[in-house]
């Protein structure tokens, strides 16, 4: 099937790599973070890239998922899976409650409101010491086990997170090629015209927002089990911004763009360690240069340039503008 050929290729690479490099640090340790970031970025891309609604508080849902899992398993001895599902239900309810008023706002105002939400949730993590452990965080979180198979090594976590990330990519690809996906993109294109076509634009926005939030909560729970420890620092405003950067840098309104952005921004700091003290400087410079010269995002711009190269080298194969 042509629609999913990219997805199959990606899955193949992601699942074969650990066979070739079984103990590679970048693959089994950084790769796990990349996979979690992919889940977050793919969800946020549905909201930002496809639906055109900005959120500067996405880390809050990631944190709510992580803390739900951490608190329910350590303080209430709940099964990790049940804790994960409870977290997703909680986030579903919270996201529904805040999305209805918040998504009536547009542009800067929406950015401010989501930013405020993210900060409030972060403060709650810090202040509710009795429950969350406060700034010191919460440790001794049990790991997941799948039918007796405990996810207790780096390589096992690689497989669990990678398969989860691939699942979220597949869901996103399916959604975008459907009636709901077109409604989401139509709201971005022209909200008035979308309404005139019978689309309830408020409901559509809330649906995407809630779905992205629940996906983030799922990633948060995986994060908590994988780290065995959570602290508020992981869910601060800066992480929300990093997620937005992944989506924008990779390329808005492209699922693979979000995947690409998530992988790049996870690995870039690791690779820039060679610059030592100047690491953040180079990091910032790379982000700026990409946005100046490739405002559409890396994935989309590189895609265009590849097509252009192809046209230049094989001009006869596919004459420009002669497709129809």
């Amino acid at each position: 099937m042509k629609r999913l050929s990219g997805f199959y290729l990606l899955s193949l690479v992601a699942l074969i790599l650990p066979q070739i490099f079984p103990d590679n640090y970048y693959l089994t340790v950084v790769g796990v973070f990349a996979a979690l970031h992919i889940i977050l970025a793919v969800g946020l891309n549905l909201l930002m890239g496809y639906c055109g609604q900005i959120s500067l508080g996405h880390a809050a849902f990631f944190g709510l998922g992580a803390y739900s899992s951490a608190i329910l398993t350590t303080r209430y001895q709940l099964d990790p899976w049940l804790a994960m599902i409870s977290g997703m239900v909680l986030v579903f309810i919270i996201a529904n409650l805040i999305a209805r008023p918040i998504l009536k706002l547009k542009g800067h105002y929406l950015a401010m409101a989501t930013l405020g939400f993210g900060i409030i949730v972060h403060i709650i993590f810090v202040q509710t010491e009795a429950l969350s452990g406060g700034p010191d965080g919460l440790g001794d979180i049990p790991t997941l086990s799948i039918a007796g198979w405990a996810v207790d090594s780096d390589i096992r976590w690689y497989y669990v997170t990678t398969i989860s990330a691939l699942g979220s990519i597949l869901l996103s690809l399916n959604l975008i090629a459907s009636r709901s996906g077109r409604a989401i993109r139509a709201v971005h294109g022209s909200e008035f015209a979308a309404q005139m076509m019978g689309i309830n634009s408020n409901k559509t926005k809330v649906m995407v927002f809630v779905f992205a939030a629940v996906l983030a909560s799922f990633a948060g729970s995986l994060f908590a089990y994988q780290q065995n420890f959570v602290s508020p620092d992981s869910f601060s405003f800066f992480f929300s911004i990093e997620l937005v950067t992944m989506v924008v840098l990779g390329g808005m309104a492209s699922t693979y763009g979000a995947v690409f952005g998530a992988i790049l921004l996870t690995f870039l700091p690791e690779l820039l360690i060679v610059f030592e003290d100047y690491e953040m400087l180079v990091y910032g410079a790379i982000l700026m240069l990409v946005m100046i010269f490739m405002p559409q995002g890396l994935f989309i711009s590189l895609g265009h340039q590849l097509t252009q190269l192809k046209k230049n080298y094989w001009p006869n194969k596919k004459p420009a503008g002669d497709q129809q």
């Binding site: 869901l171 399916n174 959604l175 090629a177 459907s178 009636r179 709901s180 996906g181 077109r182 409604a183 993109r185 139509a186 971005h188 294109g189 022209s190 008035f192 015209a193 979308a194 309404q195 005139m196 076509m197 019978g198 689309i199 309830n200 634009s201 649906m207 779905f211 309104a253 129809q324």
Partner: protein, 264 residues
């Protein structure tokens, strides 16, 4: 049989009265044009009909599909309905300033128009269940038919932002038609088109009417209005000035005066 009945409609912005005490009936199955000088209230009327503005006073009622008897109970009251609910009653429109989904192909634009003709929900779409795949194919075929109806089938897979202006005008109509409306409102479909394109637009409008869709047309191009309309309503400063067939309107001294000034 009347499709739409507007009674004592009033709308003002600040102190300016855009529509005052407007009443008219729109018969089913015809091309009904609303004309008037700039600022006459045509676009305000359109925006009230599709729920973008709420009328200050008056009522708009719209015949329910399959309603056989001309009774009030058979009508939707469009007052206080949201735009997407009005669309679900069977009203669709094109826009004076294009409202194309430029982030999609022409085909996808029209497939959005099929929103009300399909029912796949969010969760089944995520999982792409067999019912979703089946509906996708049906919707795609429907959209292709609507494109072909507006002579755009050769551009189906082009991105909307690469289409020419005249094609975009027809794409909006194709998208509106894909929702299978009872009433299609066209807001200046010929604005910015050349003579040939205007003639094609006139043919298209007659073809839409012949296919059973009632057309409500706002247009400045008098040639288009006179050749394609069955009935014309003339607005001036929010008041109804005259109503009648193209011949009657053309020979109505009040209309001629309002439009062209005293001397002619």
């Amino acid at each position: 049989m009347n499709l739409l009945r507007v009674k004592h409609l009033e709308k003002s912005f600040g102190g300016v009265s855009a529509i005052s005490n407007l009443s008219f009936d729109l018969p089913k199955g015809i091309v009904f044009s609303v004309i008037g000088p700039n600022g006459a209230g045509k676009t305000t009327l359109f925006n009230m009909l599709c729920g973008f503005y709420t009328p200050d006073q008056g009522s708009i009622i719209f015949k329910k599909e399959n309603a056989e008897y001309d009774k009030e109970v058979m009508y939707h009251s469009l007052h206080n309905m949201a735009t997407h609910q009005i669309a679900a009653c069977g009203i669709s429109r094109s826009f004076q300033n294009l409202q194309i989904f430029f982030n999609m192909t022409a085909l996808e634009n029209v497939m959005v128009g099929c929103h009300l003709q399909s029912s796949s929900r969010f969760l089944p779409s995520l999982l792409r269940l067999p019912s979703v795949i089946k509906e996708e194919q049906r919707v795609k075929q429907q959209a292709l038919n609507a494109l072909a109806f507006c002579h755009l089938d050769h551009l189906a897979n082009e991105m909307a932002d690469s289409l020419a202006y005249g094609d975009l005008k027809r794409l909006e109509i194709a998208r509106a038609l894909a929702s299978k409306p009872q009433l299609l409102m066209l807001d200046e479909p010929a604005a910015g088109l050349n003579d040939t394109e205007t003639q094609q637009m006139s043919h298209l409008i007659r073809k839409i009417c012949a296919s059973g869709v009632t057309v409500l047309l706002v247009e400045h191009n008098m040639e288009l209005v006179m050749t394609s309309s069955d009935q014309i309503l003339v607005l001036n400063f929010g008041h109804l000035l005259a109503q009648g067939t193209p011949d009657e309107i053309q020979n109505n001294p009040v209309v001629v005066k309002a439009y062209l000034g005293e001397d002619i």
